[in-house]
Amino acid sequence: MAHTLDLEGITKAISGMGVEEGALISTLGNSHKDHRKLFRKASKSFFVEDEERAFEKCHDHFVKHLKIEFSRFTNAVVMWSMHPWERDARLVKKALKKGDEAYNLIVEVSCTRSSEDLLGARKAYHSLFDQSMEEDIASHVHGSQRKLLVGLVSAYRYEGKEVKESSAKSDAKILAEAVASSGERAIENDEVVRILSTRSKLHLEHLYKHFNQIKGSDLLGGVSESSLINEALLCLLKPSVYFSKILNASLNKDADKGTKKWLTRVFVTRADHSDMKDIAEEYNQLYGEPLAQTIQEKIKGNYRDFLLTLLSKSN
């Protein structure tokens, strides 16, 4: 028999995010069947010994795990090749199917894209699903979030340089009052919805300054009990911070299946925009480590290389 299998190496190659394809080819691919038996016997997390019948059975989650981890690269490539409008339309559709916990995706798409890109997503939605994005959202979301979500995706915000300072100031006061008095019902408050879903981003930036002056507290410090409102504000005012936070969440080793997928989404949807660079800088500031380094350390194989390429492209 040739050298024994590097059990630790193989296990490492398939744990974590992504898969070390090269390592698997040279070790597992190259292995003798007796070595593989040893591998199965030793990998208690992936295989379970059926002692009565003398063979090692696959854990369900071994296959599942491999499927997921191998497919990260595939999904990234498919998503990357897609037209951004189709990408965003599909993201919104998926979020609607998932329900409540995924509505932050709708907020993300509607608040971080440019007016033209959001409009494009709505066009793609017509083409892909034979209905309008807003009608789908309106008929699937029944709770208090409907007004805000429909409002956000229907926006076609002014993107120029003009701002009416007095309007921004009065809106700041209105927002402050609305959030303070409505508590968790703020998300249904007509004025909150109006301000968040119709005003230009520049107007909101000026509003932000006035709000902080008036209240002496940070508008972006979790001003509302509603997480969707807080998220909308962050996406509209400081998208780099928002994206850095969700990147960080996705890279956490205790992140759940859904959260881990955020990593691909952020990279693929932002790499074409100038803010990928800003996101990387913000990440560095917030978490003390360059994003590239974190990716290098925590991600494996083609998936890692793909992400790093997307990242370096934007520099």
Binding site: E134, Y158, G160
Partner: protein, 370 residues
């Protein structure tokens, strides 16, 4: 069908621009100049703008005589009118694309925006008609919408009309033009200037980007027809679901829903909504919304009829509808108007309007001899 008549041999934009320039150059006076030149102002005792009747001193009999200025003006305009005719003969017979080119060429040749010149040279209703007509459809709708957010009363109707009788693409162009012209979004202005139920409905309507295909989900139509029936029965006209359906569903889907409604309940939705309080302005708007989404030509006939029959004529509505629909469906509207009022639209208009304003409208109706 459109009523706009454009001949097969159209002069080049620069030729048109030249002609327009000459029309303006010859036009040396405004209405005021006209009055001044017609009369020695010392003779003027009383000038009633609205009724056009006035008293002037009659130097011959040391008394006074009453004069109908309108008639006087017309006498004079016979000589002066040629140039408005020229303006009408050109602009009223060009498509939107052609008018855009003329405007560009005029600006290059004369250094001024054609609209600005028109503003300087023309008066009131005629000017308004020319202004609206010369603007590109998107800009026109943006202007109408912006005006509607400034006034208070029937403005809601104009907003709803623009939002519901345009195609998704046309509404989109209006929103883009609004950004460019007013440095704000249409929805933020509408939201800022409306409240309560009106805001809910109007912001949703102007923000819609409806699917425009013919696909219809019959099960959904059935469900939503039932839903609407229940809400209306309880007089919950501003219910969120009612607004949701009207402002997000495609027009094909909405039509299917109301057909279903009629099948199930034996009466048309608009009939059901007549049960409500006549003074309920929101209900009125809701009914107009439904009419615009399902049978726009009937909506326009209704507005035209009340515009023309009002004492003094609501030129605003008349101008708006003729200029915004001439290139779309004014022909169908005219046919429907005649069917319901036993008088051709053109006749109703010429009975109630005069001068260049009347000529312009008639030209847009495709009924002039040009």
């Amino acid at each position: 069908m459109a009523t706009l008549k454009v001949s097969s041999h159209v002069p080049s934009p620069s030729e048109d621009a030249e002609q327009l320039k000459s029309a303006f150059d010859d036009r040396a006076c405004s209405f005021t100049d006209l009055i001044v030149s017609v009369l020695d102002l010392e003779d003027l005792i009383f000038f009633d703008y609205l009724g056009f009747h006035s008293q002037i001193r009659d130097s011959h009999c040391h008394g006074s005589k009453s004069v109908n200025f309108l008639d006087l003006t017309f006498d004079f305009c016979e000589g002066w009118g040629t140039n408005e005719d020229l303006i009408i003969s050109i602009l009223a017979h060009r498509s939107a694309e052609q008018r855009k080119l003329i405007r560009q060429t005029y600006h290059e040749a004369c250094g001024e925006d054609l609209l600005k010149t028109l503003d300087k040279e023309l008066t009131s209703d005629f000017e308004r008609a020319i202004l609206l007509w010369t603007l590109e459809p998107g800009e026109r709708d943006a202007l109408l919408a912006n005006e509607a957010t400034k006034r208070w009363t029937s403005s809601n109707q104009v907003l709803m009309e623009v939002a519901c009788t345009r195609t998704s693409t046309q509404l989109l162009h209006a929103r883009q033009a609004y950004h460019a012209r007013y440095k704000k979004s249409i929805e933020e202005d509408v939201a800022h200037h409306t409240t309560g139920d009106f805001r809910k409905l109007l912001v949703s309507l102007v923000s819609s980007y409806r699917y425009e295909g013919d696909e219809v989900n019959m099960t959904l139509a059935k469900q939503e027809a039932k839903l609407i029936h229940e809400k209306i029965k309880d007089k919950h006209y501003s219910d969120e679901d009612v607004i949701r359906i009207l402002s997000t569903r495609s027009k094909a889907q909405i039509n299917a829903t109301f057909n279903r409604y009629q099948d199930e309940h034996g009466e048309e939705i608009l009939k059901s909504l007549e049960e409500g309080d006549e003074d309920d302005k929101f209900l009125g708007l809701l009914r107009s919304t439904i009419q615009c989404l399902t049978r726009p030509e009937l909506y326009f006939v209704d507005v035209l009829r009340s515009a023309i029959n009002k004492t003094g004529t609501d030129e605003g509505a008349l101008t708006r509808i003729v200029t915004t629909r001439a290139e779309i469906d004014l022909k169908v509207i005219g046919e429907e108007y005649q069917r319901r009022n036993s008088i051709p639209l053109e006749k109703a208009i010429t009975k109630d309007t005069r001068g260049d304003y009347e000529k312009m409208l008639v030209a847009l109706l495709g009924e002039d001899d040009a």
